[in-house]
């Protein structure tokens, strides 16, 4: 791959450009803005939105009942006080990380292929963080007292425990949500101006005009804008790594066997990118199909993302391997028992399903360029990876807690209907927000696509 992302000699097996030939500034602008402005609300959109919204209503019921009755409606107990809430939290926040990585890290690396996927990947990040942030709050039991986590001068003169990873989490996740929102909005400003200028409807013009802040594309503005965007990317890249590192500290700082491990931070970050890129594929494949965006989200994009899946999946596999190796090499009875229990204990089927979903299937299939360019196969693999990554967090959280040091303190965890309702409901929340996003905002960054057209022209 050449550094600018535009391949000079396309390899055999299909188109390899990041933009289909024949596009001009006008065609990319009209195509992407017409999805929002002209095509109207399609029947397929209503269908998808209705399903997503139904799950969102289920979430509201589940949360409403939780507020009424307390966390006892979930299957959690002592010793397994952390279960679905934390599994879902880590899973969602991990999914979000791919969006930031695409928009920030690939920008710094000058990868031109990011430009048609960064916008909706950033939106994915934002909505995934919204779904993630909800879980620890609900898990607190009294979510309305969440502000006790924040450092404010209260009447008792007490402060949060700043040495606790759970407080670090509050700062990491809220910073992450804020920076992701800023990054997304800053990227949207020029496109909102495009929509303002294209909209025929007066109400749309007023709303997009209001949100565009009066953007007029001045060269001086662009100059500062690009600098700010680059700086934000530079800030967001270490932020992503730090957020999932802090999330992994929630586990590693504890002395529970299966949690107390130094490999967790890099292994968590790789896992986050792995599941996140799988989610980007899950969203990109139907989007390009339904909105006919094959010109912009080409097979080249899918192929690149599949390669990232392969690379991060191998890091994750290394993490599993080292976890097992260290359990035996350390000579620690509890660590050794933990890994044997994981592989042969009551939750063994979950562990082996996880290995199948995360390692066995994708790590064999994705080596083939035929599969990487097969849209249907990639879609299925992306779903398998996400399932696997969810199970991974389940294994880390639940199997580590359920049998620790004292056999007299062992227990089992079984999810209740409310656990499942909250989990599937959070997908409803995510998808509802995502459907609203693709209906009302440009899902591909229009101005960056114009820049890409310019770049492709210059290279000719």
């Amino acid at each position: 791959m050449s550094p600018d992302g535009v391949e000079k000699t396309p390899p055999a097996g299909g188109p390899a450009t990041v933009l289909a030939p024949g596009h001009t500034y006008a065609t990319v602008t009209d195509k992407i803005s017409s999805i929002v402005l002209l095509e109207g609300t399609k029947r397929g959109w209503w269908f998808g939105f209705a399903i997503a919204f139904a799950f969102f209503i289920i979430l509201n019921f589940a949360v409403g009942y939780l507020l009424l009755r307390g966390v006892g409606i979930w299957g959690i107990n002592i010793p397994i006080a952390w279960a679905f809430a934390i599994v879902n939290f880590v899973w969602w926040i991990g999914i979000g990380h791919a969006g930031t990585l695409i928009s920030a890290f690939l920008l710094l690396m000058r990868q031109a292929w990011r430009q048609s996927i960064n916008r909706f990947a950033e939106a994915m990040t934002l909505f995934a963080v919204a779904s993630a942030g909800m879980f620890p709050l609900l898990h607190m039991g009294r979510p309305w007292l969440f502000y006790w986590l924040l450092p404010y001068p209260d009447t008792m003169g007490t402060w949060p425990q700043f040495r606790s990873p759970l407080v670090w989490d509050v700062f990491a996740v809220s910073t992450y949500a804020t920076i992701s929102l800023l990054f997304w909005f800053v990227g949207l400003i020029p496109d909102l101006a495009t929509l303002r200028d294209r909209a025929k409807d007066r109400l749309a013009r007023v709303i997009y005009g209001f949100l565009a802040l009066g953007w007029r594309g001045s060269a001086m503005h662009w100059h500062r804008y690009e600098m700010a965007y680059l700086l934000l990317a530079g800030l967001a890249t270490p932020l992503v790594v730090s957020v999932h590192t802090v999330v992994s500290f929630d586990f590693t700082i504890a002395t529970v066997p299966g949690w107390h491990s130094t490999i967790f931070p890099p292994y968590f970050v790789a896992g986050a990118i792995y599941s996140g890129f799988a989610m980007v594929l899950t969203l990109a494949i139907p989007l390009r199909q339904f909105y006919h965006l094959e010109d912009f989200i080409t097979l080249r994009h899918l192929d690149n993302m599949a390669k990232i899946l392969l690379a991060t999946g191998l890091i994750v596999a290394y993490g599993y391997l080292m976890e097992t190796f260290m359990a035996f090499y350390s000579g620690n009875t509890y660590d050794r028992y933990m890994i044997i229990n994981r592989m042969t204990g009551p939750y063994a089927p979950v562990y082996w399903t996880l290995i199948t979903c995360n390692i066995a299937i994708p790590m064999t299939a994705l080596w083939s360029s035929k599969i990487r360019r097969n849209v249907a196969a990639l879609f299925v693999i992306s779903l398998i990876v996400q399932t696997g990554m969810w199970l991974e967090r389940f294994v880390i959280v639940v199997t580590s807690l359920h049998r620790d040091f004292m056999p007299s303190a062992w227990g089992m965890y079984y999810p209740t209907i409310w656990d499942w309702a909250t989990f599937f409901g959070s997908m409803g929340l995510f998808l509802t927000l995502f459907f609203l996003f693709i209906r009302f905002l440009p899902m591909i960054s229009i101005f960056e696509m114009r820049g890409l057209v310019h770049k492709v022209e210059e290279e000719k």
Binding site: R163, D197, S218, M220, H223, L232
Partner: protein, 178 residues
């Protein structure tokens, strides 16, 4: 202050090369109060109209430093001065455990400063601006490129400047009321 009845003259171009060439020639001709409007960032255009320093990196740095020192102080003060708790004789100022929050707040403040600093320097939000009166200016967010020489430029003269701009390979030169 007496307002000039004109905001300036606006020339419309089809390509980035035309615009860049025009901007360079206008700068050479001695015009300084200029601005260009493009649908995407054009490399070298800001420099061509004589705009170099953005000021954004400095604001980002200041924001980051405030976040860094503020974040550390936020944790140091309660643990050492405000409400010190002696737990097994461990040090009050256990700085390694203060690093994660210090880092997060550094990023948070630097990011907020960058975005709001950039918007403030750009004078956004500006709901109304004279350049929006230019005919076909809505194309500036699609596929047209504009160069404006402002009336407050000392060299500005409606007739001469118009003649000069027409010689720049422009599609059209329009007057913009202020």
């Amino acid at each position: 202050m007496k307002r000039h009845p004109l905001y300036g003259l606006m020339a419309e171009f089809d390509t980035t090369d035309d615009l860049l060439g025009a901007a360079h020639r206008a700068h050479e001709a001695g015009y300084r109060q200029m601005d260009a409007f493009t649908p995407f960032p054009v490399e070298g255009l800001a420099e061509a109209i004589g705009f170099h320093k953005t000021g954004v990196p400095l604001i980002c740095l200041i924001g980051g430093l405030i976040g860094c020192f503020g974040g550390f102080f936020l944790q140091w003060w309660p643990n050492v001065i405000g409400y010190p708790l002696n737990i097994g004789g461990k040090p009050y100022n256990s700085w390694p455990s203060f690093i994660p929050i210090t880092f997060e707040l550094t990023i948070l403040c630097a990011g907020l400063a960058t975005v709001f600093g950039m918007l403030a320097l750009n004078g956004l939000p500006t709901p109304y601006h004279p350049v929006f009166n230019t005919p076909r200016f809505e194309m500036a967010t699609r596929n047209r490129f504009f160069l404006c020489i402002k009336a407050r430029d000392p060299k500005f003269d409606v007739e001469k400047t118009r003649e000069f701009m027409q010689s720049l390979n422009a599609r059209e030169v329009a007057e913009i009321a202020s």
